[in-house]
Amino acid sequence: MAETTARPKNFLGVPVAKPKVAFIELSSCEGCQLQIVNNEATLLDFLSLVQVVNFREAMTEKSDDYDIAFVEGSVTRKDEAEKLRTVRNNARVLVALGSCACFGGVNQLKNRFDLDWVKREVYGNSFIDTDKAQPLEDFVHVDLRIYGCPIKKEEVEKIVTNLVIGREVHHPRYPVCMECKANENICLYDLGEPCLGPITRAGCDSWCPNNRAGCWGCRGPADDANMVQMRKIMTEQGFSDETLIDRLECFGGFKACVDNIRKGQLK
C-alpha cells in the first residue's frame, strides 16, 4: 500500500503534508479497520492522502514512526494498556476509532458481570487473561473520536481529509432523528420498534433506521440529549426500562445515563 496516485500538494495554497498513519487494534473485532479497506472506489484517493505505515489487517510492513494513530478496540489487559501508552508517545494525534475505543463498545457489556463468571461462561476452564473493558480515554489523552459500530467509511474519509489539510473536525451535535427524517424513513416507533435515534449523536446518516432497524446508540449521546423524555417515550410506547437499558448499555456511550436510571435519579 505504497504511494499511488498523484495529488495536489496544497489546498488553497496551504501546503499539505502527507502524514504517516498507523492503524492499531486492541480488543476488538477489527470491523472498523475493515470498513477502511472495503470501499474500493475511494481507497486509492484515501491512500494518496496519507502514508500508511502500520496496518496489520492490510499490509505486512510495520513501523513505529507515525504522526496519526487510529486505535480500534477497548483496553482489556495490562499489556494493551502498555501498548496504548507507547502509541500515545509515538503519535502526534491519537484517534479513537469506533465505539470500543470511544466507550468500551460491545466488549464493556461484560463489565456488568462478575469477571470470573464471565471467563468460565465463555472460555470454560481454559486460561484467559482478560480484565474489565475500558475506553482509551481511561488511560491516555484522546485527541479525536470517530464514533460508530462500525465506523462509517464516508465519515472517516471526511474526518481524515480535514485532519490532513489541518481543518477542525466537528461532529454533528444533534441526534440521529435529524438525518433519519432527511432520509425520509418511516419512524421506527410508528412500526412499533424501539429506537434510540432521538438521543444518539448523528453522523451515521441514520444507517440502521434506513434499514428499518431501530438505533442502539453506538455513537453515544447527542449534545444535550433529553434522557428523561426518552425514557417517558419508551414507557408510553410500551417498552420496559429493561428494553431501554439493554439498548443504552450495548455500546457503553450512555453509561452515565444507565447509572442514573439504576440509581433512580433519572426522572
Binding site: 495529488r7 484515501f46 451535535r173 435529524m178 427524517k181 432527511a182 425520509e184 418511516i186 433529553n226 423524555q229
Partner: protein, 347 residues
C-alpha cells in the same frame, strides 16, 4: 378562475396526458403503521394505480421536491491558490405534482413570499417552483388538522388545477393555460348549477369535520407578552431538540451551509442542509457563544418565527395547520396545545 367538471372515469386519461413526456409525483403508500394504518409519502409515480388520491396526509411534506433536505449549492475546482466556482440549481425538467392538498399548496405560497417575493430571491427554490405543474385535490380533515384556524383549508392560487370530489365527477378549478390545454385534450364539461350547489355542500361538510383548532386572535401580541412565561420551560423540558418538527414542516426553510473538501483535494463542495431552530447549535457563533443554549429558548423561538415574525413581515403566519409536526413529535408537542397553553387555556 375557470371551472369545469371531469368524470372520475376520465381521470386516468388526464394522468396519461400529463405523464406523456413529464415526470409525475404523487401520494402513494410507503408502508403501514403497527396498527395497520397506511403511511403515505410523495414519490415519483410510474403507474396511475399507485396514486392514492384518498390519502390522509404524508409524513414528509411536498417541500422535498422544492427544497431538498440536502442540496449541492456549488462545487469548486481547486487550482492552487485559485479556484473556479460552479453553481447549479439542480432542476433540469418540469415535474407534475398530481394530488396536493390545499394546506401543502398554501405552504408553497407562504414559501414563495420569503423565498421569491423578498429581497434576494432564491434561485434554487425558484428553479423548482417555476417548473412544477400542480394538480390539487380536496381532502377530509383528520383529527390533527387545524388548517381552517390558519386560513389554509382552501387554496386560492399557487396550483395549476384543483380537483374537488363531487361523487361521480370532479369539480375542476383551472388557474393556468397549461392546465387548460391539458384538460382540453380529454372530455370535460361546463359545471351545471347543481354542481355549484354540490360543491358548496361538500365544502360545508368538510368544515364540520374539523376537531383541532388554534385561536390566533391577537397571537402576535400575546406571544410578546408571554415571552418570559414559565409555560415555555415546560415544553422545553419535553422537547428532544431533534429537529423532526422542522423536517416534517411544509413551511420550515431554515438551513445551514456545509463546505467540504474532496478526498483528492482538487474539488470542494458547498452543500445546503435544511436545519432546525430546535437543534442545539442553531444560534451558536464561532468562539462558542450560544444565543439559545436551552431547549425551551429554541422551541420558543420556533413559535416566534412562525406565529409572530412571519406575520409581522407578511401579514400571515408561517404555519398552515397541517398538524404534521405534532403527529411526528415523539414527545407529543402539538401546535394547538402549545398555543393554548401560552394563551393560558391549558386543559
Amino acid at each position: 378562475m375557470l371551472f369545469r367538471t371531469l368524470k372520475k372515469k376520465d381521470l386516468p386519461r388526464l394522468y396519461d396526458r400529463l405523464s406523456d413526456g413529464n415526470r409525475i409525483v404523487g401520494p402513494t403508500v410507503k408502508g403501514a403503521e403497527k396498527d395497520g394504518k397506511a403511511i403515505y409519502a410523495f414519490e415519483e409515480i410510474s403507474d396511475f394505480n399507485n396514486i392514492h388520491l384518498d390519502y390522509t396526509s404524508t409524513k414528509i411534506p411536498a417541500k422535498k421536491f422544492f427544497m431538498p433536505f440536502r442540496e449541492t449549492m456549488a462545487s469548486f475546482r481547486m487550482k492552487g491558490k485559485e479556484w473556479d466556482k460552479m453553481v447549479s440549481f439542480n432542476m433540469n425538467s418540469p415535474l407534475v405534482f398530481f394530488g396536493m392538498h390545499a394546506c401543502d399548496v398554501n405552504a408553497l405560497n407562504k414559501l414563495d413570499k420569503v423565498l421569491l417575493g423578498s429581497h434576494y430571491p432564491m434561485p434554487y427554490y425558484a428553479a423548482k417552483r417555476k417548473n412544477m405543474f400542480i394538480v390539487g385535490i380536496d381532502c377530509i380533515p383528520q383529527p390533527y388538522c387545524f388548517c381552517r384556524s390558519m386560513g389554509s383549508d382552501t387554496a386560492l392560487h399557487g396550483f395549476d388545477m384543483f380537483l374537488t370530489d363531487l361523487g361521480d365527477h370532479y369539480f375542476v378549478e383551472i388557474l393556468s393555460d397549461t392546465a387548460y390545454n391539458f384538460l382540453r385534450q380529454i372530455t370535460n364539461e361546463e359545471p351545471a348549477e347543481s354542481d355549484h350547489a354540490r360543491y358548496m355542500k361538500v365544502a360545508a361538510e368538510k368544515n364540520r369535520k374539523f376537531t383541532a383548532h388554534v385561536d390566533t386572535t391577537d397571537l402576535t401580541k400575546i406571544l410578546d407578552m408571554e415571552f418570559q412565561a414559565d409555560v415555555w420551560k415546560k415544553w422545553g423540558d419535553q422537547c428532544l431538540s431533534c429537529g423532526t418538527c422542522a423536517n416534517v414542516c411544509p413551511t420550515c426553510y431554515c438551513y445551514g451551509v456545509d463546505e467540504s473538501v474532496g478526498l483528492d483535494l482538487s474539488r470542494a463542495q458547498k452543500t445546503k442542509l435544511l436545519y432546525s431552530c430546535n437543534l442545539i447549535d442553531f444560534a451558536e457563533v464561532a468562539g462558542g457563544h450560544n444565543f439559545r443554549p436551552e431547549s425551551h429558548t429554541r422551541l420558543k423561538y420556533r413559535y416566534y418565527h412562525k406565529h409572530r415574525g412571519f406575520v409581522e413581515a407578511f401579514e400571515e403566519s408561517l404555519c398552515v395547520g397541517c398538524g404534521r409536526c405534532g403527529e411526528s413529535c415523539l414527545a407529543g408537542i402539538t401546535v394547538p396545545e402549545v398555543i393554548a397553553s401560552v394563551r393560558g387555556e391549558e386543559s
